[in-house]
C-alpha cells in the first residue's frame, strides 16, 4: 500500500497558542499585563460574538474595566483590532517556525503531519470562528488582507519545502501552485467540517482523502507545456 502509516501523526504537538504578545518596551508591568488581558478578552468576544460584538465597551466590560481605561491603552478601535490581529498571527507564525524543523523520515510523512496539524486546528472553535471573520474583513481592509496573506505565505513555506523535495524537476511556479492548492484546499474545510459545522464528524475521512490526494497530485503533476 502506497499510503500506509501516513494518516496517524507521530508527533502530537500542542495546539496553536491563542495569542502571542510582543516584547514589552517601556511602561510598568501592570500596563503590559492589562494590554494582554484586553487582547485576550477581545479575542474571546471575537470568537463568541463575532466582529460586530467586539465593541470597545464590551471588551472593557469583559475586562471589568472602564471604557476610558481601554481607550487609554488602545486609543482607537482600529488600533485594538490591528494589535489583536498581530497577536493572533504571531502565534501561528511561531507554530510554523517549529513545523519547518520537522525531521520525519520522508517528505510524504512530513506532508501528512502538517496537513494533520492544520486540519486539527481548523476544528477548534477559535479558528473556525476567527478566520472567516478575517476573510470577510480582508475584502474591505487592505491591512487585514496583507497580514492574513502574509500568514498564509508562511504556512505555505513548509509545504513548499516538501514539494521541492518531492519534485525537484518542477519549475518554481508550479511548485508554488501545488503548495497553494494544498493550503487553499484545507482552508476550505473550515466552513464544512470546522467547529459545530455539519461535517465536523467527517473530518477524519476528509483528512485521509486530502492527504492521499495531495501526495498523489504532487507526485504526478505536470504543468501544461504552453505554461
Amino acid at each position: 500500500m502506497p499510503f500506509s502509516n501516513l494518516e496517524s501523526r507521530k508527533f502530537k504537538t500542542k495546539a496553536v497558542a491563542d495569542l502571542a504578545f510582543p516584547e514589552r518596551e517601556g511602561g510598568y508591568a501592570k500596563g503590559h499585563e492589562t494590554r494582554e488581558q484586553i487582547l485576550g478578552a477581545a479575542l474571546s468576544l471575537l470568537v463568541e460574538e463575532g466582529y460586530r460584538g467586539m465593541s470597545m465597551r464590551r471588551v472593557a466590560a469583559a475586562c471589568d474595566m472602564k471604557l476610558g481605561n481601554l481607550t487609554y491603552h488602545f486609543p482607537t478601535r482600529e488600533e485594538l483590532v490591528k494589535d489583536l490581529l498581530d497577536a493572533i498571527i504571531r502565534a501561528y507564525e511561531i507554530e510554523f517556525e517549529a513545523i519547518i524543523h520537522f525531521t520525519n523520515e520522508t517528505a510524504e510523512e512530513r506532508l501528512a503531519e502538517i496537513c494533520g496539524l492544520i486540519l486539527e486546528d481548523i476544528r477548534t472553535k477559535k479558528t473556525t470562528h476567527v478566520f472567516p471573520e478575517l476573510w470577510a474583513l480582508s475584502n474591505h481592509d487592505p491591512f487585514v488582507l496583507e497580514r492574513v496573506q502574509e500568514l498564509y505565505a508562511r504556512a505555505r513555506a513548509s509545504l513548499l519545502e516538501i514539494v521541492e523535495e518531492m519534485r525537484p524537476d518542477l519549475d518554481a511556479d508550479s511548485r508554488e501552485d501545488l503548495a497553494l492548492f494544498i493550503s487553499a484546499s484545507m482552508e476550505g474545510m473550515t466552513v464544512f467540517a470546522g467547529h459545530n459545522k455539519p461535517f465536523e464528524h467527517r473530518m477524519g475521512q476528509l483528512e485521509t482523502i486530502a492527504i492521499r490526494s495531495f501526495i498523489e497530485i504532487v507526485r504526478n503533476y505536470a504543468p501544461d507545456v504552453q505554461e
Copy 2:
C-alpha cells in the same frame, strides 16, 4: 494522456445571476419591482461595504427612497437580510439545477465542467465578497448556517452524481466524503485566488491542479477497512 481536453469547458454558460426573486403574490407590480430594487441595492452594499455597511438607512439612500418606504417593504432588518439571503441562494440553486442536466460524454468531463463553473464564479467580486460574510455570519446565526449549508448540499448533489457514476463500488458515506472534499477544496480558493486576491492570476493553474487531483482521488480512493 489521461487528462486530455478536460480543462477547457465546452459549454460556456453565463455567470450565475446575482439574485433570483420569488414569484409575486398579491400587491402591485410596482411594489414587487421596488422590493427587487431594494434587494439589489442591499446586495451591492454588502459586496462593496460589507455586512456592517448594509444598514437600513444606507440601503434606503442607495435606492433614492425614504427610510419609511424601506421599512414599509421590510419592517425589520432581519427580514431584509433573510430575504436577501434567500434571493442570493435561490440564484445558485437555479444554476445547480441546470448543471444536473449536463450531458457531457463522460463523468470526468462533467466533473471538469462543474469545477470550472464554480471556480469561475469564485473569481467574481460578488462571490469573493459575499461568501466570506456568510461564513462569518453562519458562526453566530443558525438560520444563515442552515441556509448556506443547504446551498452547499445542492452544489454537492451534482458532484455526488458523478462520483456515483465513477465509483459504484463505494459505500454512500465514502462517496459523500469525496464530493464534500471536492466542494470544500474549491471553496477554499476564494481567499487566495478570488477577486483582487494575490493569486487571482494563478486560478487557471489551480483549476488544472484541482481537476486532475479530484479525478485522481475519485478514481482511486478506498476507505480504510475499519471505517
